[in-house]
Amino acid sequence: MPMNKIEVEELLKVLEDIRAAKYPEIPSELIQSIVLAEFENQDNRTEGSIITRRLIDDFLRQSVHEG
């Protein structure tokens, strides 16, 4: 699927400000990836939520290790 240039800088900037100030433990790229997934799949909510779930799962697997 061809992807469009995304004009969501303002939106990302707002989230990045919150992340950096209050939740620095969360990587900036993760938030960006979720936003892009949601932007590209506004017409397909299921797809958007599946990708979001996958992104967070991957992140948690890396950051919380099984003992």
Partner: protein, 670 residues
């Protein structure tokens, strides 16, 4: 951004044969002139048809497509119609073709089924699959935001509703505005991250359940979580149904508008709904005044006690201060007496004192020294403490807010009564409307429509109530869950629990970023939209007294006078247009979605000065603006001069026959 390159219409409405409008790729304005009945509005709707495959009449209801093919073409044996819209988006060229044509095998249509609608989208030279076509169209111009790209004067009038609380139309426009501004990206993000958070919370609960130490607590939490899930699903369902019903309501209402009896009732219903909305807003305002007052009401409340304690403290202070003072006076007197005794001469009466008297004096001095001994160290300490206490209490004598609150409460009671009066009237109007479902003079279909509308209104009321109840239940369960989880976090210490908890924590953070982002982004947007809309408004309104627009939570814009005070009330229809245009321009400036603005006679009842000012700001509304106007609606020559090099193209819709309009490039343009 999205840009239209050209539009070709074939046998559509009054446009017979194949005719093309070329737009330029430069930023600027295109004029399309046409007298009444020549097809301006049809042309606006053709753009809508091309993108969404629907055609709406003036009242916004969908039109039977078989009626739209050109009459003369039909009599010449050509049935159906076709539209080709060429666009550029993100560096790619797209060609969208939508055709309404006879099914294979049919040569003379007799019914709707004889036609079929086809659509295909070419990207460059490749034809996209129907899913990709759908996806691309939804991304470049979602139907919910069409109102900002394709509009006429009537649609502009609706923006007034944004200034009212609880208005359905207002709520729909607000939704569209947030859509174009990209808010759903965040709300969807918040919803999806909430779902992931829920999954990890459930996982944590399962871990707790599998652990002996936390088994019981885990089960309690699991039960509540399951209940919560059920209520959330129900709330979601109710919300979806409500959105659908609201859409259905406006469809049914516009259908009903054709009937005079019902129309009057609907108008009354609308007026009452607006009045209720306005009064509810007033009630909210009063409640917020009350809340502001009660915030500090405690100070006034303690005033009485403070005064009482203060007078006790003052009395105590006075006793000690008196004692201190009288010692000072006595000290002075004693000093005088001692001096007189030692010199055996009284300075006051300038007489010598004999020895017998001296002896008496010395006795007195001794006694006095005992009586006026001054403050003991404890008493001095106590006096100092009391003095500080007194000073503190003096600063705490606040006036009571009782009177102010009473005034607010009286107003609140009055407006509450007014609201319930209006609600009662509204109920009566609805019942009256209900009766119309059985009035004989109405056609059966009309009767059905009234009945449907009544059912729809009832359903909306029920859905709203259901929504409220679910939200309440959810809040209750959430609070119980929070308590139990706090307990669980204290009790559980196992490593698997620590990990499960950590995952939940991180998920919470991710979710919070989105949740907090929604408000932050909204506020950020609102202030930018407010600023840009004010800029445009000031340029169009040309009234030096109107200095500023202020945005509310619904993106409604209130006009403010240079002398400050309350917003300007009772705005004229003309000014509503100006405000709406300013809002649309500001939205385009701030939206991640950008595209052409195509407007049909948006001038309404504006005077020539305002019309000219609107022409002036057209290039600021969007990079590509197409204006459909009837001749003399605006002064053509003045418009050309005003726009100068921003005017890129001009077309004229010219009459060939009653059923045939030609789109011709305007010869007068340079």
């Amino acid at each position: 951004m999205l840009r239209f390159i050209s539009l070709t219409v074939e046998d559509f409405g009054p446009f017979k044969g194949s005719q093309t409008i070329d737009f330029t790729s430069d930023d600027g304005v295109t004029f399309i002139w046409g007298n009444n009945g020549r097809g301006k509005t049809t042309l606006l709707n053709i753009f809508r048809y091309a993108i969404y495959g629907k055609f709406q009449n003036r009242r916004g209801t969908n039109v039977n497509l078989t009626m739209l093919s050109n009459r003369e073409s039909r009599s010449e044996g050509r049935y159906g119609f076709k539209v080709v819209l060429r666009m550029s988006y993100d560096g790619e060229i797209y060609e969208l073709t939508r055709q309404f044509k006879l099914r294979t095998g049919v040569s003379r249509p007799t019914k709707n089924d004889d036609y079929e609608q086809t659509v295909y989208l070419k990207k460059g030279t490749a034809i996209l699959s129907s899913e990709d076509t759908d996806h691309i169209l939804k991304i470049i111009m979602p139907e919910q935001v069409a109102r900002f790209f394709l509009f006429d004067g009537e649609l502009l009038q609706e923006y007034e509703e944004l200034l009212m609380e609880d208005s359905d139309t207002g709520a729909q426009i607000k939704k569209s505005i947030e859509e174009i501004l990209g808010v759903p990206v965040l709300t969807n993000g918040a919803t999806d991250t909430a779902a992931v958070l829920e999954a990890y919370t459930n996982a944590k609960t399962r871990t707790a359940q599998s652990n002996k130490q936390t088994e019981q607590l885990g089960s309690q939490i699991a039960t509540l979580e399951a209940a919560l899930q059920g209520h959330n699903a129900e709330l979601e369902r109710l919300r979806e149904e409500l959105t659908q019903e609201l859409g259905r309501k406006s469809e049914l209402e516009s259908e009903q508008n054709q009937n005079e009896h019902v129309k009057a009732l609907l108008a009354e219903m609308k007026a009452l709904e607006n009045s209720i909305a306005e009064k509810k807003a007033r009630r909210e305002g009063l409640l917020s005044d009350i809340k502001n007052t009660t915030k500090d009401a405690w100070k006034g409340l303690i005033g009485f006690r403070v005064n009482e304690i203060l007078s006790d403290v003052e009395a105590e202070v006075k006793v000690l201060e008196d004692k201190e003072n009288s010692q000072k006076v006595a000290q002075h007197f004693l000093k005088e007496m001692k001096e007189a005794a030692s010199r055996k001469h009284c300075n006051l009466c300038d007489q010598d004192i004999d020895d017998a008297l001296i002896l008496k004096m010395e006795e007195r001095i001794k006694a006095l020294e005992g009586n006026y001994g001054g403050l003991t160290p404890e008493e001095s300490g106590k006096l100092r403490t009391l003095q500080i206490r007194k000073a503190t209490l003096e600063t705490m004598r606040y006036p009571s807010s009782k009177e102010r609150l009473e005034i607010y409460e009286r107003q609140l009671a009055a407006v509450t009564v007014e609201i319930s009066d209006d609600e009662r009237k509204l109920k009566a109007v609805k019942e009256e409307l209900e009766k119309h479902g059985d009035i004989e003079e109405l056609s059966t279909s009309m009767q059905n429509c009234v009945k449907n509308l009544i059912n729809c209104l009832k359903k909306i009321d029920n859905l709203k109530e259901g929504e409220r109840q679910e939200a309440e239940q959810i809040a209750n369960i959430r609070s119980s869950l929070a308590t139990l989880n706090a307990k669980l976090d204290k009790t559980a210490t196992g490593e698997d629990m620590v990990r499960a908890r950590r995952r939940v924590e991180l998920c919470e953070m991710i979710h919070n970023i989105f949740e907090e982002g929604i408000d932050a982004y909204r506020n950020n947007l609102k202030s930018r939209v407010e600023k840009d809309a004010t800029d445009l408004f000031v340029r169009i309104s040309n009234d030096p007294d109107y200095v500023r627009l202020e945005i509310n939570d619904n993106y409604g814009l209130a006009i403010y006078h240079k002398d400050g005070g309350d917003p300007v009330p009772l705005r004229s229809a003309g000014f509503e247009h100006v405000v709406a245009l300013a809002l649309i321009g500001a939205l385009h400036k701030n939206a991640p979605l950008r595209g052409p603005v195509i407007m049909d006679s948006p001038f309404g009842r504006l005077d020539p000065t305002h019309k000219e000012n609107i022409i002036k700001v057209l290039p600021s509304l969007s990079e590509q603006v197409v204006l459909l106007a009837y001749t003399h609606e605006i002064d053509e020559q003045r418009a050309r001069e005003t726009l100068g090099s921003s005017l890129k193209k001009e077309y004229r819709l010219t009459r060939q026959t009653s059923f045939y309009t030609r789109i011709e490039p305007n010869q007068e343009v340079k």
